[in-house]
Amino acid sequence: MGFFENLFGGRRDRSASVAKQRLMMVLVDDRYKLTPETLEQMKVEIAEVLSRYLPPVDAEQIEVKILRGEATDYLKADIPLKRGQPDMG
């Protein structure tokens, strides 16, 4: 959080976005008994698997969301891949 953001009152996240983030975590846990710790562990393992085939993936940069669809839910993962290293391994 930079100096200017502090100056202009962006010091704290708006409470609505805090509420949304918290709810996302809570609902995933309610639906799938997936605690934040398990979720982090899952990201580490996803990163391990992908790193076998792709440039090294940073587990901390993986964003996992579970979205409710009509009949089924979907796990959506955003995984940033580093570019420009085609000759791995």
């Binding site: 708006r14 509420a19 996302m24 309610d30 639906r31 409710r68 669809g69």
Partner: protein, 266 residues
């Protein structure tokens, strides 16, 4: 054959009873034959919200236990002859009625009415399960608060498990000013979290307090933003494509007036 629609929420105090009363009145105003059923056995409330508390002779438990015929227990609304209330029992507990009895009751009601609205008790126990037992459709009411949204999500799972189809959502008590400042979950946020179909956005509106005090539905009050929102929900339930108006911060009369013409995404 009429449609049986249960209004539920999980969390208490989010506006189930107000929604049932207003939606029932709105559907009757729009020409439907409507029965509203208070399924909150032991905590009767829909009667006072509708201003019919002095007319109760028999209640839902009297009907299912055979002490009264359905027609004797149904109370006609003060203004609308096509709107009837079946009140809850006040002196019995939630287990006075079984699932099968509720299914029989809704089967009888749907023969006489176009819409049967069931006001569900809060919670996820038997009272709630009975309230959805005979339903064709479910409307979930929530407010933009973490506790209400969390409970709504739980209820959605239970409704889907009971194979009542994807429920519709009413987001109640939206405060546009707080949403604009980023201090209240927006309708879009709630929809993204719950991923069900939106059927109503009802603003937080002081006129609900005064109309409930008088035992009159807010849909009669043309100044009431909430009343207008409930009329829109009723039209959407009947299959009309009604756009969601942009909610105005409750300030000037002019702003309120022009708010009617503002349209969000269609």
């Amino acid at each position: 054959m009429g449609r049986v629609i249960t209004i539920t929420s999980g969390k208490g105090g989010v506006g189930k009873t107000t929604t049932t009363a207003n939606l029932g009145t709105a559907l009757a105003l729009q020409g439907g034959r409507v029965a509203v059923v208070d399924a909150d056995i032991g905590l009767r409330n829909l009667d006072v919200v509708m201003g019919l508390e002095n007319r109760i002779v028999y209640d839902l438990v009297d009907v299912v236990e055979g002490r009264a015929r359905l027609r004797q227990a149904l109370i006609k609304d003060k203004r609308l002859p096509e709107l009837c209330l079946l009140p809850a029992a006040q002196t019995r507990d939630k287990d006075a009625v079984s699932r099968e009895q509720m299914i029989d009751l809704t089967a009888q009601l749907r023969r006489e009415f176009d819409f049967v609205l069931i006001d569900s008790p809060a919670g996820i126990e038997n009272g709630f399960r009975n309230a959805i037992a005979g339903a064709d459709e479910v409307i979930i009411v929530t407010t933009p608060e973490v506790s209400a949204v969390r409970d709504a999500d739980r209820i959605i799972g239970l409704v889907e498990a009971a194979e009542k189809g994807p429920p519709n959502l009413v987001v109640n008590r939206i405060k546009p000013r707080l949403v604009n400042r980023g201090e209240m979950l927006s309708v879009e946020d709630v929809l993204e979290l719950l991923a069900i179909t939106l059927i109503g956005i009802v603003p937080d509106d002081e006129s609900i307090v005064t109309s409930t005090n008088r035992g009159e539905a807010a849909v009669y009050d043309h100044q009431s933003q909430a009343g207008r929102a409930f009329l829109d929900v009723a039209r959407r339930l009947r299959g009309e494509d009604v756009p969601f108006p942009v909610l105005q911060e409750q300030q000037g009369v002019l702003e309120r007036f022009f708010g009617i013409f503002g349209r969000r995404r269609s």
